[in-house]
């Protein structure tokens, strides 16, 4: 990774400082996840010990066994993944097209279009629950992935479009023009030149869309009531009772939910970073 942007390289230097900074970053980001991991290895009794314990006294995997046997956890994961991935793909596709139109083409009222797209995202989803339910029922989409994919796409569309607009505007027009001289259509140039060059932006937009879809609870609860279509956030609530909140088992389920996403992020970010550098060299 020699291609680091020098934006901060010049401000901080020195290996020990770097390690310290890395440590701070990891603690800030990972602490709650680690805490959940520790909790998932504790017994419920250990949680009411005073003063509290950090590392589990007698680690147990019983909570993981319960997490998998009490509820179809893998099914929840599968549903969440499919919904999140499909809606991310749809979001990216639609917002790339829209962002290109806004960033590059001469449209009258460009600001108006942009404002309109942002404006619609300023409505809290909670308040749209009932009309949305009616729409999904009218379209016969209740209890399907599509019932979630469509609203999740809309949920992320504005932010992704705006991110991509700001990235597309930073790509020199010359690159695109030369590609078009080489015989590319405008759309071809968009997908062969503009999108690869905006890889960090596309990646960021994709991650945001994925996580937005991955996190959502209220619509998933309301539109997909069938047990075979539950997503992870809805599924995890099934471990709790009316009053009981068994943190160790819920923690185990959360860990199982976080690990695949973490792996995905690690793989995905490496690819994007390397894709970026090779694309940059070509350009």
């Amino acid at each position: 990774m020699t291609s680091d942007s020098p934006a901060t390289r010049s401000i901080f230097s020195g290996r020990p400082l770097r390690i310290l900074i890395g440590f701070i970053l990891v603690v800030n980001g990972m602490f709650p996840a680690l805490w959940i991991l520790f909790t998932s290895l504790k017994t419920e009794a250990e949680l009411t010990v005073k003063p509290i314990t950090w590392l589990p006294h007698a680690p147990t995997i019983a909570n993981y066994l319960r997490a998998f046997t009490d509820q179809p956890l893998l099914l929840f994961l599968f549903n969440s993944f499919m919904v999140a991935i499909l809606s991310t793909a749809l979001t990216l596709f639609i917002s790339v097209l829209a962002a290109y139109a806004i960033a590059r083409l001469q449209i009258r009222g460009r600001d108006l279009v942009l404002s309109a797209i942002i404006a619609v995202s300023t409505f809290p989803l909670v308040t749209l629950l009932v009309p949305l339910f009616e729409i999904m029922r009218a379209l016969g989409l209740l209890n399907t992935w599509v019932a979630l994919i469509l609203p999740y796409t809309v949920l992320s569309l504005p932010v992704c479009t705006l991110i991509l607009v700001s990235f597309f505007e930073g790509i020199p027009r010359d690159l695109e023009n030369s590609a078009m001289i080489d015989g590319c259509t405008r759309i071809g140039a968009l997908f062969k030149v503009v999108v690869p060059l905006s890889a960090p932006g596309v990646f960021t937009a994709g991650i945001l869309a994925f996580v937005n879809a991955w996190d959502e609870f209220l619509l998933a609860l309301s539109f997909n009531s069938s047990p075979t279509l539950r997503t992870l956030p809805v599924g995890i609530t099934l471990y709790q009772g009316e009053f009981a909140f068994p943190w160790p088992v819920i923690s185990a389920a959360l860990v199982v939910g976080i690990v695949p996403v973490a792996i995905l992020i690690v793989i995905f970010q490496e690819r994007v970073v390397s894709g970026l550098t090779s694309g940059g060299i070509k350009g």
Binding site: M1, S5, P6, A7, T8, R9, S10, F12, R18, G22, L25, V26, N28, G29, K50, I52, F93, I94, A98, Y100, A101, L105, Q106, I107, L114, I117, I118, A119, V120, T122, F123, V126, T127, L128, V130, P131, L132, I135, L150, P151, V154, V159, T161, S166, G183, T185, I187, G201, T204, V211, D215, F217, P233, L254, I258, V261, A262, I265, V266, E270
Partner: protein, 312 residues
């Protein structure tokens, strides 16, 4: 439908479709623009515009399901009701306060995180992962986890305070401490969003600019303020717009952490809307509140867009 037509647009083989293409492409950019915006417009119309239209219409009606009465036209009655509803004013003020605290808070923390994560680490994934994990933790559980962290007896925050020799704080027993706990949690959860967008921006800044600046003898601090910050502006504005809008919609974290307590001192407008619509089933009043919130976020968006246009 929209998707299908778009797929053909993209995958259309170059030779056969050239004529078809050129008719749409080169002569008129506007036609292409419309085509490209069509799928977005279609989805937004279906999922947002139609429901919002119904919402606005409902806001002018007397429609409380628990009254057992049919809906009647109410004009601006629901809006007038807000004026002397103390809970409306309190929750609105709380929402504005949360926005004013957490948006700059997340921006500063996110900027620091992004600059830190952009250092040339030998292995990158631990830091990248650390930026993204706060996002991957479902929001509905992040609030619960942090409520537990701030628990006066079993919480890790007080445990650390006690180990450092301080007295533990009963966070949720006081409006101010509860508010602080909520704001800290929101900043933690959202600063990674800021950092992510800023980091993506940082990576597109060409190295040559810094080299040139170094030749000119600019110091590191000056480089930051004269190169990094101005070039990051578009990314920062994007992040700010959406952070502000989501801050105005703050719901999950106070809902799971305090339920708006003690009393209603940490309740937000979105919580109040949710309560009126879903719990109280007063659809008319709830819709009117939502419209007010919409106007509030629209106002903010317009200000931001002006900012982009003025300086960009």
């Amino acid at each position: 439908m929209a998707t299908a037509s778009e797929t053909t647009l993209v995958s259309a083989p170059a030779e056969g479709a050239t004529k078809w293409w050129t008719r749409f492409l080169d002569p008129s950019e506007r036609t292409l623009a419309v085509l490209l915006l069509l799928p977005a417009a279609f989805l937004l119309a279906l999922i947002i515009v139609y429901p919002v239209g119904r919402l606005v219409w409902t806001s002018f009606q007397n429609l409380s399901l628990t009254s057992g009465l049919p809906a009647t036209f109410a004009g601006l009655e629901n809006y007038a009701l807000m004026l002397d509803d103390p809970v409306f004013w309190e929750t609105t003020w709380n929402t504005i306060l949360i926005t004013l605290i957490t948006v700059p808070g997340a921006l500063v923390v996110g900027m620091i995180l992004a600059l830190m994560a952009n250092l040339p680490f030998e292995t990158k994934w631990p830091t990248r992962l650390s930026l993204l994990i706060p996002w991957a933790l479902p929001l509905s559980f992040a609030g619960l986890i942090f409520a537990w962290f701030f628990h006066s007896e079993y919480g890790v925050v007080n445990d650390v305070l006690r180990r450092l020799g301080f007295e533990g704080v009963i966070w949720f027993n006081s409006a101010n401490w509860a508010f602080a706990a909520i704001c800290l949690t929101i900043v933690w959860k959202t600063s990674s969003f800021m950092a992510l967008i800023i980091l993506a921006g940082l990576q597109t800044i060409p190295r040559s600019l810094y080299e040139a600046a170094e030749v000119d003898g600019a110091g590191r601090i000056r480089q930051f303020f004269e190169i990094t910050l101005p070039l990051l502006k578009p990314a920062i504005v994007v992040a700010l717009i959406f952070r502000t809008i989501t801050a105005l919609q703050t719901f999950d974290i106070p809902y799971t952490m305090t339920r708006g307590g003690p009393g209603t001192s940490t309740a937000t407008l979105a919580m109040y809307i949710h309560q009126n619509t879903v719990d109280f089933l007063d659809l008319g009043y709830g819709s009117a509140l939502a419209v007010v919130m919409f106007l509030l976020s629209m106002g903010v968006t317009v200000v931001y867009l002006r900012m982009i246009r003025a300086k960009g």
